[in-house]
């Protein structure tokens, strides 16, 4: 097992190079004038510009390996380049947006996973029952109605009418405090920083702004987790060893919770892994609607603007995370089902 893990980690850089090369080559399939659109985002900017000077300055006409080489040698030195769409160095652009996305993801993780598993177990135990049907239909609605509909309706009701959960991460007065010199930004996770600075007002305000987007995300993911849990539970509940346990007189509850749930978790782990990835990659729609300047929105903008240093930086980040998570998932398969051997 250890050697397996070590091997997977050693291969990591190779894969990352592979990924970035793939993305880079996709971008290079576009002509230099198309890639010039990173710097000229509006027709009004064509007023007095000499496009060929711009192309030359940004090296857009250089052979692809030269451009990629420039980027990767920069990375080797720790310089991820300049993001035109953010107006900041790529690393800074990422670091300033990562906390927003991560905070959202972390706060959403527990309710989503727990809620989804509980709902799924509930539905499976009431298989073909009224409650099973109801929860399944509700889950499907939650998953198929586009996120922006829920998000905007939430905003409308809980902010527009009630004023309880405003958009953005903080109110203006709180943002002032956070930006002031008296407040130390340890992590830019406002809830955490608020605690570390002993400022409960900030903590409260940050949480208040997190509630609506977290619920919106949850509605989407509950369905997913619930469904997988349910179907996998149903499968397990029929298995031989369950029947044996029942025959032996083990109480139904223990049968369900001890034996079944543990084994049903395999596919759930896969899905949860995907989910964490999605959360850490940011949800563009939720971030756009609730005005949370996170990675999802940033990467979507960067891609639309063909801001390739940012896109490649994002690919590195995402790729790294994904490989790590896939590794965890694969390892947990082996842990849960000892019959699976990791070669």
């Amino acid at each position: 097992m250890i050697s397996y893990i070590v091997r997977r980690i050693l291969i990591l850089p190779i894969i990352l190079i592979g990924v970035t090369l793939l993305v880079f080559s996709m971008i290079m399939m576009l002509g230099p004038y198309q890639r010039l659109s990173t710097y000229i985002t509006d027709p009004s900017q064509l007023k007095s510009v000499d496009v060929d000077v711009l192309v030359a300055r940004h090296g857009l006409n250089d052979p692809w390996y030269q451009q990629y080489g420039r980027w990767i040698s920069g990375v080797a030195r720790g310089d991820l380049g300049w993001s035109e769409s953010a107006g900041d160095p790529v690393a800074e652009a990422f670091l300033s947006r990562f906390p927003a996305t991560a905070e959202l993801g972390l706060f959403a993780l527990l309710p989503v996973v727990l809620g989804g598993i509980i709902l799924g177990v509930f539905a499976s135990v009431h298989h073909n029952d009224f409650w099973d049907h109801v929860s399944r239909v509700l889950a499907i609605i939650g998953w198929s109605v586009p996120t922006f509909v829920f998000g905007l309706v939430m905003l409308m009701i809980f902010y527009g009418h009630l004023g309880w959960f405003p958009p953005s991460r903080l109110d203006s007065w709180a943002a002032d405090i956070v930006n002031s010199s008296g407040f130390i930004n340890y992590t830019n996770f406002f809830v955490l920083d608020g605690l570390l600075n002993g400022n409960l007002a900030i903590v409260g305000n940050a949480i208040r702004h997190l509630i609506a987007p977290v619920i919106t995300i949850s509605i989407l993911w509950w369905a997913f987790i619930m469904r997988i849990t349910r179907s996998s539970m149903l499968e397990i509940l029929r298995k031989d060893y369950i029947r044996t346990a029942r025959a032996k007189g083990v109480t139904e509850n223990i049968v369900v919770y001890k034996h079944a749930v543990r084994n049903a978790l395999i596919p759930v782990v896969t899905v949860a892994g995907r989910m964490v990835l999605g959360l850490l990659g940011g949800l563009v729609i939720v971030e756009t609607i609730f005005n949370i300047e996170g990675l999802g929105q940033f990467m979507a903008h960067a891609a639309q603007q063909l801001d390739y240093p940012a896109v490649l930086g994002g690919t590195l980040y995402f790729g790294f995370l994904l490989i790590l998570i896939n590794l965890c998932v694969d390892v947990s398969y082996a842990v849960i089902d000892p019959r699976i051997r990791l070669e």
């Binding site: 576009l30 002509g31 004038y33 198309q34 890639r35 010039l36 659109s37 000229i40 985002t41 509006d42 027709p43 009004s44 900017q45 064509l46 007023k47 007095s48 510009v49 000499d50 496009v51 000077v53 711009l54 300055r57 300049w82 953010a86 107006g87 900041d88 300033s96 905007l152 905003l155 409308m156 902010y159 527009g160 004023g163 405003p166 958009p167 953005s168 203006s172 943002a175 002032d176 930006n179 756009t288 609607i289 609730f290 005005n291 300047e293 929105q297 639309q304 063909l306």
Partner: protein, 607 residues
């Protein structure tokens, strides 16, 4: 309970309740103004920025020599100068080639310096040397040097095309030329123009970043041009991210920078040592939020005082409590369909067969005046204005918008007339076009519904004239659109131009001159036609005189030429609007600042 305790209880309840009355103040945050806008700031360097979002910031932090009188672009008022130079007061002389600006005394910069005439000269010199690619400096090089930019001067003086290659010697020679145009004499700064030019004042007026006055000592300290004649090469056309004042400011304006969170939010504080009465607002915060619905909700809750709104959503904001929409404001903007007279056909799917064979269009499709006129007659102007723009705006009458010189509501324009369109199509290419038909693809930039609609309208009407006419409409990403424009591959594209400064020359050049921004994209055939038919000369003549009557005739002529030769498809002039809370007072509209707000006169009050 004892009576006295009841009394105390009631009194304390009343006391507590009275405290909450303040909590229900009619105006949220009376001294802080919050705007929710779209887009993002490009740079805080006033000489670099050339976009709407950035210019709003510059306009509140920096000041120029003169300004408009409360948004009236025909009236100047002194700002950092104490008098507006005019012929009458003798500050404009020598056949209008000399402009004298007496400089105000006792004006403080945010970082502590005091304004002197040297600061004024330095600011202009720095900008002229900076002349970044794609920036606004061509506007000043025209009147001040009769050139297009610094490279024109370096070519003239030392034969070097790229100013960043200048040796210290050459730099010195070029510097002489620049230096001689701006003179400091006592308390005055004097500009020397090569010949009279009516646009000079409208270029240096406040609202135009290139006229922003900076503190020489502070700027040099920050690493901007060191003031030496030999270092032009180092400071020419810098990369945006390397400019020291990209994120820092130091102006004389009523507000100063507090924080700028790129792409998210910018906060300004009142400058209490301002040379006029300090502003009434203490704080201005601008949030950049891309989602319209979110901005709208914030405005409704009163968490925002002004929200940026796309005109299309106008119908949503009527009858909202506490919110008012002020519209019908003059917008110096012309939206039109740019026609490419020499379409690059190689590797271009939009021309299909590339021949006049009924299965495509030839490269010189729009070179034929009958085709152009036919297209002009096929546009449903009324429906566009009434339905698409919900009646808020008017048909464009040519390149020059209202209220500039040359615009007249009686001038000849095209109206939708499918019979005439048919006539023109029949004459096109000596009748060949009518017989064979054609197929063309017109592109629009995805996400721009207005432009897609204009394209759909053309398709709808033209296809009904002759079944052999086929128009495809296709949406593409901006990057591909840009690529096609630069390579001359687009066929017809709807585009627009908003005023940089308040003069018709700012419109005639890009639209009509062969080397104008759009003229450049119209192909060789247009260039030849414009030069041969004296269009370039006509456009230039507009600024070779300062006589109003003369200019009026010239611009009327230009407006008419555009009609007579159907050079393009002039479509609409929208109105401007502002969506704000009713408690926002003191605001006036500035057509050059456009969506941007000048916060100095603004206050919030419930009356």
């Amino acid at each position: 309970m004892k009576r006295s305790s009841i009394l105390i209880l009631v009194l304390s309840m009343v006391f507590v309740l009275s405290l909450t009355v303040g909590a229900f103040a009619q105006v949220n945050n009376p001294t802080t103004f919050t705007k929710v806008n779209m887009g993002t700031i490009d740079s805080l360097d006033p000489h670099y920025q050339y976009d709407n979002a950035s210019s709003e910031i510059y306009a509140n932090i920096y000041e120029n020599l003169i300004m408009f009188d409360d948004g009236d672009v025909t009236q100047y008022e002194p700002m950092l100068a104490t008098k507006v130079p005019t012929l009458d007061n003798g500050l404009v002389k020598d056949n209008q080639t000399t402009y004298v600006f007496p400089i105000r005394e006792g004006v403080k910069f945010h970082e502590g310096g005091t304004l002197t005439p040297e600061d004024v000269k330095y600011s202009f010199m720095r900008g002229l040397i900076h002349d970044r690619n794609g920036g606004p400096w061509w506007m000043l090089y025209g009147p001040l040097f009769d050139a297009g930019g610094l490279s024109d001067i370096t070519v003239d003086v030392v034969g070097v095309e790229d100013p960043s290659q200048l040796t210290p010697e050459q730099s010195r020679e070029v510097f002489e030329v620049l230096d001689s145009a701006i003179e400091v004499e006592g308390n005055n700064v004097i500009f020397h123009l090569p010949k009279p030019n009516p646009t000079f004042m409208s270029v240096v007026v406040h609202d135009n970043g290139l006229g922003a006055i900076m503190d020489k000592e502070w700027s040099i300290e920050q690493g901007l041009w060191d003031g030496s004649p030999e270092t032009i090469a180092e400071y020419y056309d810098p990369d945006k991210e390397e400019i020291p004042i990209h994120e820092k400011t130091n102006g004389t304006g009523p507000f100063m920078l507090n924080t700028w969170e790129k792409g998210k939010r910018i906060a300004l504080d009142r400058f209490n040592d301002y040379w006029r009465e300090p502003a009434q607002l203490e704080r201005v915060i601008i949030n950049y939020i891309d989602e319209w619905s979110t901005r709208k909700l914030m405005l409704q809750r009163g968490d925002a005082d002004v929200a940026y709104m796309d005109k299309q959503y106008q119908s949503q904001v009527e009858n909202l409590e506490g919110v008012e929409l002020v519209t019908g404001l003059p917008n110096l903007y012309t939206g039109y369909g740019l026609m490419n007279w020499s379409i690059a056909t190689k590797g271009n799917p939009d021309v299909h067969s590339g021949e006049l064979d009924g299965k495509g269009i030839p490269s010189d499709f729009f070179n034929d005046i009958h085709v152009r006129k036919a297209f002009n007659y096929s546009m449903n102007y009324e429906a566009f204005i009434n339905d698409v723009m919900a009646g808020d705006g008017k048909q464009a009458r040519g390149p020059i918008p209202e209220p500039f010189l040359g615009w007249s509501e009686d001038s000849a324009v095209y109206t939708m007339d499918l019979a005439k369109a048919e006539e023109e199509f029949k004459k096109a290419f000596d009748g060949e076009l009518w017989d064979k038909g054609f197929e063309i693809t017109i592109l629009y930039n995805t996400g721009n519904s207005m432009r897609k609609t204009a394209t759909d309208m053309l398709k709808f009407n033209i296809e009904s004239i002759n079944s052999k006419f086929k128009i495809n409409t296709r949406g593409i990403q901006w990057s591909s659109y840009l690529d096609r424009m630069i390579q001359g591959k687009f066929t017809l594209g709807f585009i627009g131009w908003g005023a940089d400064y308040a003069d018709p020359h700012n419109f005639t050049v890009p639209f009509m001159r062969s080397d104008g921004t759009f003229g450049n994209f119209k192909g060789e055939n247009y260039k030849t036609w414009a030069i041969d038919n004296g269009i370039d000369e006509l456009v230039n003549s507009g600024v070779e005189t300062t006589d109003r009557e003369e200019r009026l005739e010239i611009y009327k002529e230009i407006q008419h030429v555009a009609y007579e030769y159907a050079t393009d498809l002039y479509l609409y002039q929208p109105t401007a609007h502002i969506l704000k809370r009713e408690w926002v007072k003191g605001w006036y509209y500035d057509p050059i600042l456009h969506d941007g707000i000048y916060y100095y006169p603004i206050y919030k009050s419930a009356e």
